[in-house]
């Protein structure tokens, strides 16, 4: 019994694999009805399923596939031309075959009330008998005859089907030819046998069995020598759980490897120059290399070709285009691209949805296309390729494309975005609107899209795989959807960053670049800090603010910004340190701590400490919320705390010692702290480096750098934009004053002045009453 169960399972796995291929081949067949290779391939699938099915006593399935085989055989021999109508029937029977197989998988047999194969069988019969589909009638006698026929064929199928996989196309064709001849002989015999008594039936079966065995033996000797033995052993079906287990173990190994490297580095520091270090180094490196190779090797065992997913789409497109009355051609490229099994399983649904979307919303009706001067047939291209550590799946259509303005208007109307957001939005961001919940641009809800499962679900599913979606579109020309997903889920490359003293791992796939900036590089837009990076303006958020980490480190002169990107949006993340790049193994935080915003999991580092892994998509969402309370606000707050003259530092800049003394005397008594500089250069360096100057009294005529230039230089820095600069000079002409305002002086005082006047102007500029 167990053995039977095993055979049954193998049969099902094989059958489902074949059916996947079958769908694609059938659609292709419709466009190339004369392709003999294709026909042979399809015929073989029906034939194999029929054979195994009958061996397993799956009568209904056997009967159905047998009738399919008849039709396909006729087409193969050129006696029948495959038309759309015939193809509909064949596809219907393939669907039914799938349903039966699913039923077998679930219940163990093919007896079910839900599936009635009779109507399809009758139609298939009609086709193979050359009748038109309308004059279909049940011919029970014929059915019976066929069933007898099936029984006798069990043995030959069982014996031969194994060979097919290892044969070259020529060999296969020869094999099929041979089988057919055999069958015809059998048919002849059967017709004769039928005339005899029923009791003789068993004898006849044995007869045919003997007959079939012999030619096969001959065949083996001739065309498949030795090769067969070696190839049979080349693949093993392995339980996925075993692979998963292996993958987990590799994960542990990678962690231990990291730890070993860490320890080696420590030891190297301590025992520098010692002889044993060389040997240790060799061992550590070789373990590290082997581990990496092992990891890749195990990863590869879990890899499947994406063609497995792509295969079902030609059928989808065919059905869709017929349903919608559109002409669509699907071009598939890169189906040999490999992806982790778990990703392959998850990517099917989102892709299906996006393809439906492209056909339904993207491609126009044939009339419309002709009017626009395009070819009647729309093209949807499905392409997969490797890009670094990622796989890119591209869905391109040459349909009507999307207009960012219309998208924005729709989004506004539905309240998905605010007017302000709409204004700020780039075209790429506008395209991403279609992934927002509650957004659908389809004017009418068709059977195809608009069934409540929107593109937002697509995006969520892709993000679950650590992937991202990019959209580009030109109105009238078409759209391109790019899905980027990592090769594997368990082990990733990450950038380790520090927020205050805590470390976080940021998946490298989402890191666009890292830059070191100074505080002056930060500018403000509507009170929020932004960074101008080349021709882009990035919102800046401090990581410590996002995760509400207490700030124990002072603000240093240099800031590290990690530029993160998800889809079209980018954010600059201010961190307190960049530690480096490392390969990390993702571990879950467990049931209790799951679902923490912005955290995707944790990893254990070489030193045994746990480091949290950032969920970049969620982090960027948090960043947008945190952005309001930005760095600039906090600096302004600290400045506001100053209330008395004693809290302020005033810089006096003058080359004349006397003038400096006069100025000092005028304001010293009020309590200001005073610093002095004798020329513009010195003043600038004091302002920049001391960073505590609250106002400056500046002479114009000075050596090295005059007052005007000094003011200009100071105003170049963002943080000194509002620093009060008061010119104190003997230049009294109007043009001098105008120049002073131009370069950014707040006040212009001419010598001589009274001490009270100077003090008052200073106090006014520092907003002291």
């Amino acid at each position: 019994m167990d053995e039977m169960q095993e055979i049954m399972e193998d049969f099902l796995v094989e059958a489902f694999e074949m059916i996947e291929q079958l769908d694609q081949d059938l659609v292709e067949l419709e466009s190339n009805p004369d392709d003999l290779d294709l026909l042979n391939k399809i015929f073989r699938v029906a034939h194999t399923i029929k054979g195994s099915g009958s061996f397993l006593n799956l009568d209904i399935l056997t009967r159905l596939t047998h009738h399919m085989e008849d039709v396909l055989n006729k087409a193969r021999k050129g006696e029948l031309k495959i038309t759309s109508d015939i193809m509909d029937v064949i596809l219907e029977s393939v669907d039914m075959m799938k349903a039966l197989l699913e039923n077998i998988r679930d219940t163990g047999n093919d007896i079910t009330d839900d599936i009635d194969i009779e109507p399809v069988v009758v139609k298939l019969d009609a086709i193979s008998n050359g009748k038109s589909l309308s004059e279909v009638s049940v011919n029970s006698e014929k059915v019976e005859e066929k069933e007898v026929e099936i029984a006798s064929e069990v043995q030959d199928n069982e014996l031969t089907e194994e060979d097919y996989a290892n044969m070259s196309p020529e060999e296969i064709e020869a094999e099929i030819e041979r089988l057919l001849q055999q069958r015809q002989e059998e048919d002849k015999k059967r017709r004769e046998a039928k005339k005899k008594q029923q009791s003789q039936n068993t004898e006849k079966k044995e007869l045919s069995k003997e007959e079939t065995i012999q030619p096969i033996k001959k065949d083996e000797k001739k065309s498949v020598p030795a090769k067969k033995i070696s190839t049979v052993e080349q693949t093993i079906r392995v339980d996925v759980n075993r692979l998963d287990n292996l993958m987990n173990l590799i994960g542990e190994l990678v962690l231990s490897k990291n730890r070993l490297i860490k320890i080696y580095n420590d030891v190297e520091e301590r025992y520098e120059g010692e002889h044993f270090l060389d040997e240790l180094n060799q061992v550590v490196s070789s373990i590290s290399i082997v581990t990496t190779d092992l990891q890749i090797a195990v990863m590869k065992t879990r890899m499947l070709q994406i063609g497995k997913v792509f295969n079902k789409f030609p059928r989808v497109i065919r059905d869709l285009s017929r349903e919608l009355g559109k002409k669509v051609r699907l071009i598939i490229k890169g189906e040999e691209t490999e992806l982790d099994k778990s990703i392959i399983e998850e990517i099917g649904d989102p892709l299906m949805h996006m393809i439906r979307n492209s056909v339904d919303h993207g491609i126009e009706s044939p009339e419309e296309r002709l009017k626009l001067g395009k070819s009647e047939e729309g093209i949807v291209e499905l392409k997969a390729y490797n890009e670094g550590n990622q796989i890119v799946i591209e869905i391109t259509d040459d349909g009507k494309g999307m207009d960012p303005e219309i998208l924005k208007a729709k989004a506004l109307e539905k309240g998905v975005i605010s007017e302000k957001e709409a204004d700020m939005m780039s075209d790429k961001e506008a395209f991403m609107l279609i992934f927002k919940a509650g957004f659908s641009t389809a004017a009418k809800v068709t059977n195809v899209s608009g069934r409540g499962v929107g593109m937002d679900v697509v995006k969520t599913n892709v993000e679950k795989l650590n992937g991202l979606i990019e959209v580009d579109s030109t109105p009238g020309k078409g759209s391109v959807f790019k899905i980027k997903i990592p090769l594997t889920l368990a082990i990733i490359q990450a950038l380790l960053v520090a927020a205050q003293e805590e470390l976080f791992a940021v998946p490298l796939a989402n890191v666009i670049e890292t830059v070191r900036i100074t505080v002056e590089d930060i500018s403000a837009v509507e009170g929020k800090s932004v960074l101008k990076l080349r021709d882009e303006v990035l919102p800046l958020v401090n990581m410590s603010d996002i995760f509400k980490i207490d700030k124990i480190l002072g603000i240093s002169q240099y800031l590290y910004v990690v530029v993160l990107g998800v889809g079209a949006s980018k954010v600059g993340l201010i961190v307190d340190g960049l530690i480096g790049q490392e390969e990390i193994v993702i571990k879950s935080l467990g049931e209790y701590l799951k679902g923490i915003k912005g955290i995707a999991g944790a990893t254990i580092r070489g030193d045994g400490k746990v480091t949290l892994i950032v969920d970049v998509a969620a982090l960027m969402q948090l960043a947008k919320e945190t952005h309001a309370n930005s760095l600039i606000n906090t600096t302004i707050e600290t400045k506001k705390k100053k209330e008395k003259p004693e809290d302020y530092v005033v810089l006096i800049v003058d080359d004349s010692n006397t003038d400096r003394k006069i100025m000092r005397k005028s304001i010293e008594l009020l309590g200001f702290t005073i610093k002095e500089a004798t020329n513009g250069e010195e003043a600038l360096s004091i302002i920049k480096n001391d960073n505590d100057i609250d106002a400056a009294l500046v002479d114009i005529e000075m050596p090295k750098m005059d007052g005007y230039t000094l003011a200009q230089e100071i105003r170049k820095y963002n943080r000194f934009k509002n620093l009060p600069l008061i010119a104190v000079t003997s230049r009294t002409t109007k043009s001098d004053r105008v120049r002073g305002v131009e370069v950014g002086m707040n006040e212009y005082i001419t010598k001589p002045y009274t001490p009270e006047y100077l003090a008052n102007v200073l106090k006014r500029n520092l907003k002291l009453s």
């Binding site: 995760f547 923490i596 944790a602 746990v610």
Partner: protein, 167 residues
């Protein structure tokens, strides 16, 4: 293995020798007692995976204050919950007696910070009283109250210890 744990086991063995003859095994439950703040608590001995001295942990943002973070127990990342903070006990220093008790709750492992261990307890289940009516909030996490001499021991309900968010 720490001396403390060895002591606990030794005591337990002594207790086993003393009591087996007197009482029916069925009614006896074995617990490990520990102090949090000023109170003595206990959890079933079989739910305890191990007891370790404090090790380094990593803070996790957006969690309640009694969730200290996560720590690494031989390659597993486990949450660390400070029972002293959870029960509102004032002392939050880590002295030499502080231990992490790693408990298996359902399929999940978690570490709990306690002030110090007391001993392994053998208590007749019939002598365990239901939680008092007054303990309102804590009622949900209390399985029952046991008396041993003049000591009052609160037995914690394992399943509630890891109730997410509001637990």
């Amino acid at each position: 293995m720490s001396n403390q744990l060895q002591n606990v086991i030794k005591q337990q063995q002594e207790q086993t020798n003393l009591t087996t003859s007197e009482q029916k095994e069925d009614n006896i439950i074995q617990l490990v007692g520990f102090i949090v703040g000023n109170e003595e608590f206990a959890v079933p001995i079989l739910s305890i995976q191990e007891i370790i001295k404090p090790i380094e942990w990593t803070k996790v943002p957006f969690t309640e204050d009694f969730v200290l973070g996560v720590f690494n127990l031989r390659g597993n990342v486990l949450p660390l919950i400070d029972l002293r903070k959870k029960f509102g006990a004032s002392q939050a220093e880590f002295d030499d007696d502080v231990r992490f008790i790693v408990i298996k709750i359902g399929d999940e492992l978690a570490g709990f910070v306690i002030d110090r261990l007391t001993e392994a307890l053998r208590i007749d289940s019939s002598s365990i009283l239901p939680p008092p009516d007054t303990s309102m909030d804590r009622e949900a996490i209390i399985e029952g109250i046991a008396r041993k001499g003049d000591r009052i021991i609160t037995i914690l309900k394992m399943t509630s210890l890891l109730k997410t968010k509001n637990g």
